[in-house]
Symmetry: C2
Subunit: 298 residues, 2 copies
Amino acid sequence: MSPAAHEVVIGARRLAIVGVGLMGGSLAAALRGARFVDRIVGVDEDPRSLGTAHAHGLIDDMQDLEAAVAEADLVVLATPLGALPGLLARLSRCLPARAVVTDMGSAKQPVAEVARALGLTRFVPGHPMAGGECSGPAAARADLFAGRSVILTPTETTDDEAVRAVQTMWTAAGARVVMADAATHDRLVAYTSHLPHLLAFACAELLAEYAPAEALAPFTGAGLKDFLRIAGSDPVMWRDICAANAASLAPALAAYAERLAGYSERVACGDFEGLLGHFAKARAFRADLMRRSTHGEH
Amino acid sequence: MSPAAHEVVIGARRLAIVGVGLMGGSLAAALRGARFVDRIVGVDEDPRSLGTAHAHGLIDDMQDLEAAVAEADLVVLATPLGALPGLLARLSRCLPARAVVTDMGSAKQPVAEVARALGLTRFVPGHPMAGGECSGPAAARADLFAGRSVILTPTETTDDEAVRAVQTMWTAAGARVVMADAATHDRLVAYTSHLPHLLAFACAELLAEYAPAEALAPFTGAGLKDFLRIAGSDPVMWRDICAANAASLAPALAAYAERLAGYSERVACGDFEGLLGHFAKARAFRADLMRRSTHGEH
């Protein structure tokens, strides 16, 4: 019998984190708190982020990518999605044979394909279902991933030992690891994450066109605030996610538009009992989903 | 010079609250805390709500509508929208001449029209922009309305003294009173509240049709949780709101569908820079709106 995931000894005690923002910084804090790592090296284009991460004790040292990777057992790419293809190309030229690499990108098929094309068999595509409104290493929290799911999407060419190493790392950070194939991941997050972001952006933009903020403000309640929270997300990051997952996002948008047209039709023809049926079904499913998810009601 | 609103002596010390749920109970708690009332009588079809409200010290006594109103200076209708026409009709037959009436309904034109048709000139249509996920008098909080806006939509036939009395009451409860005409109110809340609720219900229903909750749960993050929170609202209440404000909701839905079709078009043709422009505009407006609203970021 193989040992349980958390018992696998991987010797991955030297960690390189590329992108020391909220996500990378929080992973550093969690792994340090769990005594999973001996040494963490930070890599970031922004020297201020590196300085903050170092001042907060998240990283021991800062180096450029090539130097950081040369000494690392485990490399975590915690950058925005758009930076991943370039980073993977650089890693394919400098990664030591022993090192394992994973990422945190919100769409998995394009990243997995780039890694496969580059022959990076020890790259394990990953996506933690966690985040926050704030960004930057000063917002990092050791419990950001506690109880949250992390999706790993290895391909048939991904090294099994590498998968176990990444699984062990996330378990040490307190996350629940879920395995999926990249296509399934991308289809499901198109519905659970990418579509809702577009819906929130579209609603905020519609409000912008409809009336000035000072006119709408007195008519704004806590419900709208929560609904629009994700429209506060970084536009560049979401441009890149939409580009990376357009193939799954397009049918999700079409299905939503059809559903909404059904609601409009019922409003237009005064079929409010029909609307009630939709609302009741929606509410029941939401309650069930929240009960089952790690971000439940309580 | 007329005295400031909060200085107006209205002699409204005997309050009847019809519907002692979260909203009515919270108003009772706030007004009692502010020593605005001497005596609060609760009216509710549900004897358990009355019992809980009494046990929590929110109401001094419980009576039927006619008895409660006979002794009241101020009557607050804190029931769902659907119950208001029937209650107003009953009030038109039993309301003492001195008593002032207001409501908390989410759509104002239909209620205002019913009151005008009944000759209830001392009825002041109102809508507090506050609420909560929980319902019932046990969830009542004295600060539910603190800093929140309350929209009042008197018509040309509404008695001025009645308007001042309701204004004074809400100010005592800690709310910020905003005057608007009913048509403007209904158009604006169609965009800021009713449309977002329908969008969230439609998203939750789409998820229900797409995959089982157990399959989606690992792919569910905090963003979706916030986005779907309002899809946890009471379906019957929202059926009634849609019915009451269909005239304003229909064009808001149409405008949203058009906006979303623009997003879909950009996704389909790969115009991600165009999407970025939409997202940036949406994000900036959201930040401005939240800064100006009483439910701001901080």
